[in-house]
Every structure is written in structure tokens, then in C-alpha cells.
Symmetry: C2
Subunit: 214 residues, 2 copies
């Protein structure tokens, strides 16, 4: 009757369950990066994590619950990676160019990971229970982009001609387009040419801040 008394035991169990969830999420991400979303079956995931199959349904109710967790996990990752990539050097076009180049270099360093992100978005859009996850994923991207644009503006003493949310969407439009294009033909020269264009075009949307040219 009083099975909920053992607080410490309960806490340890919940910790263990949470740990297992995270281990499975990370294993799933490795499988998806290596072989695609379709290959991330419950069996493949538990094999990757070195767990028995039954452990899966012990901590997740279904495969979709894992995918939802997975999207949350990678979105957090991606956003913090994006923030870390920003480095202000030289003038605005140079900063944008370097930033976009750094981004595409990350993609090129681990193309399968980025392909996995795209596939996850697609999968989420297809699955009614997960379509909200896709929106949250992109809101996180837009927020990260907005943060970067504001930081760049502050440090370079410029202002953007358009509201930050609009600027952020433009930036993400570029990163998405650049990523897709590079993933298909892996032509870095062509990609860099588009980056040059993007840097110039985005720079045209900035003007020097009144009274503050650092």
C-alpha cells in the first residue's frame, strides 16, 4: 500500500531511468548519423547503446517518444555550437563571411550529422505528434541567429536596417540553402562563392550606429 515511501529508492530509480534515456538518445543520434532515421530502429539503438531490447520500452513508451527527445537534445547542442562559432574579426562582411564559412566547415567536418538534422526535421514534419518539435527546432535556430546578429551589431558598432527577427530568418535561409547545396555536390568552391554573396548582401543591411563607431 505504501510503496511510494521509499524516496531515496525512487529517486535513484528515476535517475537511472533518466540516464538510460540519455544514453539511448545519444546512441540513436550515432545510428541516425551513420545510417539515417529509417535505420534507427529500437533494436539498432539498443544494440548501439549495449542494452537489451526490453530496456528501451522500460524508459520510453514508444519510438516516437525517443525521436522527440532526440530533437530536443540536438537542438540544444546546435544552438550552443552556433553561439560559440561567432568571432568578430575585421569589418562586417569579413565577420559574416568567416561566420558562414565556419558554419559550413562544421557541416563539412561531419556531413552525416547535418544530414541527420535535416532528416529529423523532415520526419518531425511528417509525424503529427512531432510537428511541434520541428517548429521548436526552428525557433531555436532563429533565436540563436538573432543572438549572433545582435552580438555582432553591438561589437562592430552598427545597426541593422530590419528588425532582428527578420534578419535572423534571412540568415537561417542562407544556412539552410548553403547546407543543402553543399550536401548534394560537396562543391566547396561554389559554396564559398555563395557565402561571399551572402556576406555582401547581409552587410548592405547594416549602417553605422549614430555616435558610436567604436
Amino acid at each position: 500500500m505504501s510503496q511510494s515511501c521509499d524516496r531515496e529508492g525512487l529517486a535513484r530509480v528515476r535517475m537511472a531511468a533518466l540516464e538510460r534515456r540519455e544514453l539511448l538518445v545519444q546512441a540513436a543520434l550515432r545510428v541516425i548519423a551513420r545510417e539515417g532515421v529509417a535505420a534507427a530502429t529500437t533494436r539498432a539503438v539498443v544494440a548501439e547503446a549495449g542494452m537489451p531490447l526490453a530496456s528501451f520500452h522500460y524508459v520510453f513508451h514508444s519510438r516516437d517518444e525517443l525521436i522527440a527527445d532526440l530533437i530536443r537534445y540536438v537542438v540544444d547542442d546546435e544552438a550552443s555550437a552556433a553561439r560559440a562559432a561567432l568571432s568578430i574579426e575585421g569589418d562586417l562582411p569579413t565577420t559574416i563571411r568567416n561566420g558562414l564559412k565556419a558554419f559550413i566547415d562544421i557541416v563539412a567536418a561531419d556531413p552525416l550529422r547535418e544530414q541527420a538534422m535535416l532528416e529529423l526535421t523532415q520526419y518531425a514534419l511528417r509525424t503529427p505528434e512531432l510537428s511541434e518539435s520541428a517548429r521548436i527546432q526552428y525557433e531555436s535556430y532563429y533565436r540563436a541567429a538573432a543572438g549572433i546578429l545582435e552580438a555582432a551589431a553591438g561589437q562592430l558598432g552598427i545597426e541593422w536596417k530590419r528588425p532582428i527577427p527578420e534578419m535572423a530568418r534571412i540568415l537561417i535561409t542562407f544556412t539552410d540553402g548553403l547546407t543543402l547545396g553543399w550536401l548534394v555536390d560537396r562543391d566547396m568552391a561554389a559554396t564559398e562563392s555563395v557565402i561571399d554573396f551572402a556576406a555582401d548582401a547581409l552587410s548592405a543591411l547594416a549602417f553605422p550606429k549614430e555616435g558610436g563607431d567604436r
Copy 2:
């Protein structure tokens, strides 16, 4: 021994086989648009086409052979649709804006179809035997974009500051990014704002043709 003599019979058979292939390809496209690439099993496709299962392997060696055919089919479709969408009205920024708006309206009119195209690209990139199909798909996009840019330049009496292939890649970078963004949140106002930016930025890459301002 002489079973290859009946030319007419052979021709009729091959015609029938080709017809069946096309019927199956179209059925597969409907299934994929409705439920995604993963749902396009051989069974689902033949059910959609109203054929028995065995007919599938009678005209295709494998599911991947169908997918490869499918990509060729939709790419042709897409390219001719793109060419047809071009209409020169007003100045260059207006033409670009209208063109991109027409493109995204096509996407918005049948989002599932465009999602299917994206999924097909992803699937092709994942499947070694099909990765060439993805490249061919994008080469077709770039060629269509190049054709449109050349036609626009000719009719508006302008020249592009960059080589046509570079311009084409920039344009496709925009359409990909716009598509992905719209598919996720379906925010047409935000999308149009990015289109406005794209129109201005691309127009900045044109200058009036010497001696010919029509």
C-alpha cells in the same frame, strides 16, 4: 528457339512494361506526398496503382530502381514548371520578387509534394546507388535556374556581374532556404520578407547592358 522473332509482340510487351512503370511511379509519388518516403513500400505503391504485388517486381528489379525512376520523373516535372513560372513584368527587383513568390506559392499550394521532393533528395543522399540521382537532381535545378536568369537578363536588357552558374547556385540557395523555412512554420509574411531581401540582393548583381537598354 526463335522466341525473339515476334517483333510486334515484343514491342507491345515492352510498351506495356513501360506503361506499368510509369503508372507505378505516379502511384509512388502520390503515396510519398501523402505519407512520406518511408511509407512508399512496394505493397502501398501497388495498392495505390491497383495492381497485384507481383507486377511490381515484374517491371522493377527493386524498390530502389523505382525510386531512381521517380527522381528522374519529378525532376523533369519540376524544371519545366520552373521555366513556365517566369514572367517578366516591371523592373528587375519586381521580376525576381514575383518569380520567387510564384515559386513559394507553388510550394504552399501543395506542401506535401515539396516535402516529398526534399525527402527524396535525403533518401538519395543516404543510398549509395542513388547518390548520383541527387546530384543529377540538383544539376537539373541549377540548369533551370541558369535558363531563367539568362532569359530575364535578355528580356530586361541587363547583364549579371557574376558567371551564370554562380548566379544559379545563389538562386537555388534561396529557393531551398525559403522552402525549408516555410515548410516548418508556414509563415508567409516572414517568407515574403525574406523574398524582398532576396530580390534586392540579387538585383544588386545586375548592371545595364552596354548599348542595349531596350
